[in-house]
Assembly symmetry: C2
Homo-oligomer: 311 residues x 2
């Protein structure tokens, strides 16, 4: 005899990289009596049915949300308000409603007005992903040792927060709680600005007159290729992120631009000492990230690991 | 009976990631009758002796260069001129002299005046590396399927260029020939500017008042950690690169800044269409790089490969 699953019925609205990974992980860990999935496009719904990961695939958001005790919106942040409105009257009292959006302030602002006070709204953001998207891109291990940030409003029921925390912990994540405002600042520097910059430089390289695209691709191993992975992330998701977290990204961008001017000036003036000092300092941050297990110490992200034999 | 090795004696001046990888690869492929190594610090020389990769470890650059038929400078570009001066009178007539510097115009300018006309100067740049440095960081497979760019002056002996091409090909690289000026433009966008930007943003993140360094590290999986790997590269090497290729980097930086302003303006104005269009275009470049084998299609650089099972 085993313990009953954490949730009787989990509804996943949207089935991209994150939704698909949650479904696979929840099933692998036996966390749901039933997993009900819906997606906007008929093509995705058909694919989810084929994959056989969901217990039921339904056509509408309302149908998915009905009678679920956990509803997770796994969709671009720009769509969250409209979906909240759509499902509001179908939610069961005491249901936990959550999301996975990379921006929290805007999601809270846009969803809250529609949600009945009888449900528990616990916004979430698993800081995990790859450059791939779509129903086939997810995998059960995506969240292992990654952080999931919860941003529950002050008055939220503690039991509901704990239950969602238990869910994310069970699929491998480490959970941290903060305000939506602080979340949006932290992610602006650790995720949104890096994406904006990667998208920019990859675009720049594509439009040069003096260097061909073929040359850019051939000689990309010098650093550029790492930016292209980031700049291959889902365009809809990222459009919404930049529109929804504009203020925090602009703030970080201001600081970045000042720092870039400083390094540019050092380069222009031939100030090798200033460059050396800066480059030495940034090395220490890398060490910190590897030490806390947020990246691998394998050279070159492990691309060369199999070849990295000592003589 | 086997064919005689390509070079009777190869001298490697410097034994970091690149020098150490060349030594390991040349030995693995039997390309040298003898590999003679020197390094500036006694500690490195002692470590190379311990590693047992070189046939001989000597104390001075002059001693290393003496009687070698291939001499490769594996040192930061800023040191190439002084080392050329030091070895010049010890070079054997007909020796091939090369380097591995990431900037070619400055290296050619600084080394050429010292080299006797009796030697063949064939500057080279293997576009390969990891974020690690030092005598232990090299491995024989580093150059496999990576490009090595040769920038021989117009009047260079074709046989010497062909011999160096054969050497790089034998250790796995693909060889391309271009002018030093064009090389420096190509690398400014595919390597130097990405490094400058990564160094900048990692520094920015380290100095924020509102977000702690600990938070930056914890939530780095959202994109930031990929920049930290690049910003963990060898500080001396990169200081020299930016000083030596200042003009081309500043030119590319100008275009990058214009493009960043364009995306910033789109974000500020809430122009989602412009953002979406840009983010869709950059995806195609990533596909090109994966198609020509310059990166892996494994999600997240293969970090999650072992976990990426389908249900």
């Amino acid at each position: 005899m085993t313990a009953p699953p954490l949730f009787r019925r989990i509804a996943l609205i949207g089935f991209g990289l994150i939704g698909g990974s949650i479904a696979r992980a929840a099933r692998a860990q036996g966390l749901a009596g039933e997993i009900v999935v819906t997606a906007r496009s008929a093509k995705t719904r058909a694919r989810v049915t084929e994959l056989g990961i969901a217990d039921r695939v339904v056509d509408t958001n309302a149908e998915a949300a009905s009678d679920a005790d956990l509803v997770i919106l796994c969709i671009p942040v720009g769509a969250c308000g409209a979906v909240a409105q759509e499902i509001a009257s179908h939610l069961r009292p005491d249901a936990i409603v959550s999301d996975v959006g990379s921006v929290k302030g805007a999601v809270v602002r846009e969803m809250t007005p529609y949600l009945p006070t009888s449900v528990h709204f616990v916004p979430a953001h698993p800081v995990a992903g790859t450059e791939h998207s779509g129903p086939d891109s997810g995998f059960a291990e995506l969240f292992i040792n990654r952080w999931c940030i919860l941003t529950p409003p002050d008055k939220t029921d503690i039991a509901a927060v704990d239950k969602l925390r238990a869910f994310w912990t069970a699929i491998g994540a480490r959970v941290e709680i903060m305000t939506p405002q602080h979340h949006d600042l932290v992610l602006a520097i650790t995720s949104h600005l890096p994406h904006l910059i990667a998208y920019t430089i990859v675009g720049t390289a594509d439009e040069l007159g003096e260097v061909t695209s073929s040359e850019v691709m051939k000689f990309s191993a010098g650093g550029f290729r790492d930016f292209t992975r980031i700049a291959a992330s889902d365009p809809t998701m990222w459009r919404d992120v930049f529109l929804a977290n504009k203020d925090a990204v602009l703030e970080m961008l201001g600081t970045f631009n000042e720092d870039l001017s400083k390094l540019t000036r050092a380069m222009r003036r031939g100030d090798g000492e200033a460059l050396f000092e800066h480059f030495t300092r940034t090395r220490a941050i890398r060490r910190g990230i590897v030490e806390i297990g947020q990246d691998s110490a394998a050279p070159d992200f492990g691309r060369l690991q199999t070849g990295a034999k000592k003589p």
